[in-house]
């Protein structure tokens, strides 16, 4: 009996060995090496275009299916009969009430919501069974995402993080100087790029001439924990945050060996003066990297939120605003921290199709004469909002709130009317 198994075992081992080697070689050549050098084969963009075509097809199928079965969909934009109905108000009423309950969550339900179904059941709120073909496609998508993409991404993530910890620790052994800074920069960029590929994030950077410089403060709007990785893969920043335990803590400790980041102990976080002092000390030293700050705070640590709101704008550094906007068609990058933990969130991110976003580097701003910290902060936020979309104006002292409000209200009105005037035109034709 044993004789029968042995050659088979050998064959199996050989096959496994070969496939692993092939797998890792492909990984290395197509993903890791470009990450190291910062070049791109354009594979991800091709992938993105293919996905869009598939989503379009899926949407058409659903619309056709809707007409056949005469369903009412929750999504107002897929309504097969584009005429005003008394129930249209429900959509706006519900969104209004939802935003009263929690506008953090509603941020993601933007106007582009669900115009197409991106084959993730997470974003499928009311699409019932439409056709066999569609279900097969969804099943295939599931298989690809969980069977192929997820393991690939997890491997990359571990590689990226592992390399970061290892290499920064090594660099930490070098004496301070130009060589150390240079190497640390390269290492950080490389590891973040690997992480970006681990999430299949397709990022478009605009206006790179405005990239933050040393001694400045980089302020960005915050929609998900991935924001950090997205920004840090295009430039080197000093991070600010509270020291965590566990894996996060290990990463933080090793990062700070290679270049100065600002990590606070739990107890120090509450001391606003200490925080402000450390930030301004860092900013004054022109050889140190620009600080990356999210004034709305991180999703992880909500106690930071209050603290940074005024503090970072008081220290008098040049502010480089950055606007980050995610494309909701591919996957929802929002993290509902009360519902899902970090690991859960990361797994969801890694099992969605891709994360597509745009980053705009806005021209630098400084505090003007007679402007206090809050007004300055509002000015920065308004600039980011205009470029990237909705930003938490709850913190806004009222500066130009009216202007921003009308533009966005108009957007919603436009979308709704586009749907209706199609029906109205038909009406006029019927009359004649």
């Amino acid at each position: 009996m044993e004789l029968f198994f042995n050659p088979f075992d050998n064959l199996l081992c050989i096959l496994l060995g070969i496939s692993f080697t092939v797998w890792f070689t492909l990984l290395l050549v197509f993903i890791i090496v470009p990450a190291i050098f910062g070049v791109s084969f354009g594979i991800r963009r091709l992938y993105m275009k293919t996905l869009l075509k598939v989503f379009e097809w899926a949407t058409l199928r659903i619309e056709r299916g809707a007409k056949e079965k005469n369903h009412h969909f929750s999504c107002i934009y897929l309504d097969s009969a584009p005429e005003f109905e008394m129930s249209d108000i429900f959509y706006f009423a519900r969104r209004g009430v939802e935003s009263i309950m929690d506008d953090e969550v509603t941020k993601r339900f933007s106007a582009e919501e669900l115009e197409s179904w991106n084959l993730l059941t997470r974003s499928n709120y009311n699409f019932h069974y439409i056709s066999l073909r569609l279900t097969v496609l969804w099943g295939l998508g599931l298989l690809i995402r969980y069977g192929f993409l997820l393991p690939l991404r997890v491997t990359l993530a571990f590689t990226g993080v592992g390399l970061l910890v290892f290499l920064t620790s090594v660099i930490g052994l070098l004496p301070n100087g130009r060589m150390k800074n240079f190497l640390s920069e390269k290492v950080h960029l490389m590891c973040y790029r690997i992480c970006v590929r681990a999430l299949t994030a397709i990022i478009t950077y605009h206006d790179s001439e405005n990239k933050p410089k040393n001694g400045g403060l980089c302020v960005a709007n915050h929609t998900s924990p991935i924001d950090v990785i997205i920004l840090a893969s295009d430039g080197c920043y000093a991070m600010v945050g509270q020291i965590h335990g566990g894996l996060m803590g290990v990463i933080q400790k090793s990062m700070v060996k290679a270049c100065p980041h600002i990590w606070f102990e739990r107890s120090e976080v509450k001391d606003r003066h200490l925080v402000a002092k450390r930030l301004s000390d860092h900013v004054e030293d022109k050889s140190k990297l620009p600080i990356l700050i999210f004034p709305e705070g991180t999703c992880i640590n909500n106690t930071s939120v209050m603290m940074f709101k005024k503090g970072s704008f008081e220290i008098g550094a040049t502010v480089y605003p950055v606007a980050i906007k995610y494309d909701p068609r591919f996957g929802d990058a929002f993290w509902n921290s009360s519902k899902f933990g970090m690991v859960n969130y990361l797994l969801r991110m890694m099992s969605s199709w891709a994360i597509v976003c745009s980053v705009w580097y806005l021209p630098p701003m400084s505090r003007e004469e007679g402007e206090d910290a809050v007004q300055f902060a509002n000015r920065v936020k308004a600039a980011i909002a205009r470029q990237g979309g909705l930003v938490d104006l709850l913190w806004d002292g009222g500066l130009k709130r009216a202007k921003v409000k009308d533009t966005f209200k108009e957007e919603q009105q436009k979308l709704y009317s586009k749907m209706l005037t199609g029906g109205v035109k038909r009406l006029n034709v019927d009359k004649n």
């Binding site: 009412h72 929750s74 005429e83 005003f84 109905e85 008394m86 129930s87 249209d88 108000i89 429900f90 959509y91 706006f92 009423a93 519900r94 969104r95 209004g96 009430v97 939802e98 935003s99 009263i100 309950m101 929690d102 506008d103 969550v105 509603t106 941020k107 339900f109 709120y125 009311n126 509902n336 009360s338 909705l390 938490d392 104006l393 709850l394 806004d396 709130r401 409000k405 966005f408 209200k409 108009e410 957007e411 919603q412 009105q413 436009k414 709704y416 009317s417 586009k418 209706l420 005037t421 109205v424 009406l427 006029n428």
Partner: protein, 194 residues
């Protein structure tokens, strides 16, 4: 759960609110946290300005009408129980409640949800949606995106379809009839806070 019941003690009248509205303990706690966030000046009640500061609501075309359902002349300050009671309209419908039962009709029943929507249309509260009110509503939802003629033709058609007794206005029953095929529970319930 010892820790959460002590958290519930922070919320005045929580147990009664839970019974009255059907919200769970977690919901009430979430809503109370939210109430505290909205009440920036820590007055203990909410006012018009606090609602106007909700940015997502400000860009909603019918945002001010929705605020009007919470805060209106006669009720300019909103305490936590009133806040919760209005929000209770948007809880998903309970399948266990039956019309013939002895319990009072809950806030999130289909009829009560429809009444809430009706009140958004019927600004003067006379129990009928007049042509003018419907025009105003459509104006809010469409803004400058349609011409006056288009607006009038949409309004005309809507009234024609819904006004069954031909009195030129839409009563609550006519409104109910016009939306009878709509899945109210889905469209008028919040998608989180279950």
């Amino acid at each position: 759960m010892g820790s959460s019941s002590s958290r519930l003690d922070r919320v005045p009248g929580a147990k009664d609110l839970m019974e009255e509205t059907g919200f769970s303990e977690t919901n009430i706690l979430c809503l109370y946290d939210r109430f505290e966030v909205l009440d920036r000046e820590e007055r203990g009640y909410l006012r018009l300005e606090d609602f106007e500061a909700i940015q997502q609501l400000a860009v909603n075309p019918i945002g001010d009408r929705i605020i009007g359902a919470f805060v209106f002349p006669g009720r300019e300050t909103l305490d936590f129980p009133s806040f919760v009671r209005v929000l209770a309209h948007f809880r998903p419908t309970d399948t266990t409640w039956s019309r013939s039962g002895s319990q009072p009709e809950p806030a999130n029943s289909r009829t009560r949800k429809l009444r809430f929507a009706f009140s958004l249309y019927d600004q003067d509260g006379d129990g009928k949606i007049s042509r003018a009110e419907l025009t105003e509503m459509l104006q809010a939802m469409l803004g400058m995106q349609v011409t006056d003629e288009q607006l009038q033709s949409i309004v005309g058609r809507a009234i024609q379809e819904a006004d069954l007794d031909r009195d030129g206005a839409i009563s609550f029953d006519e409104f109910k009839k016009s939306v009878e095929k709509v899945d109210i529970d889905h469209k008028m319930s919040t998608r989180f806070l279950r």
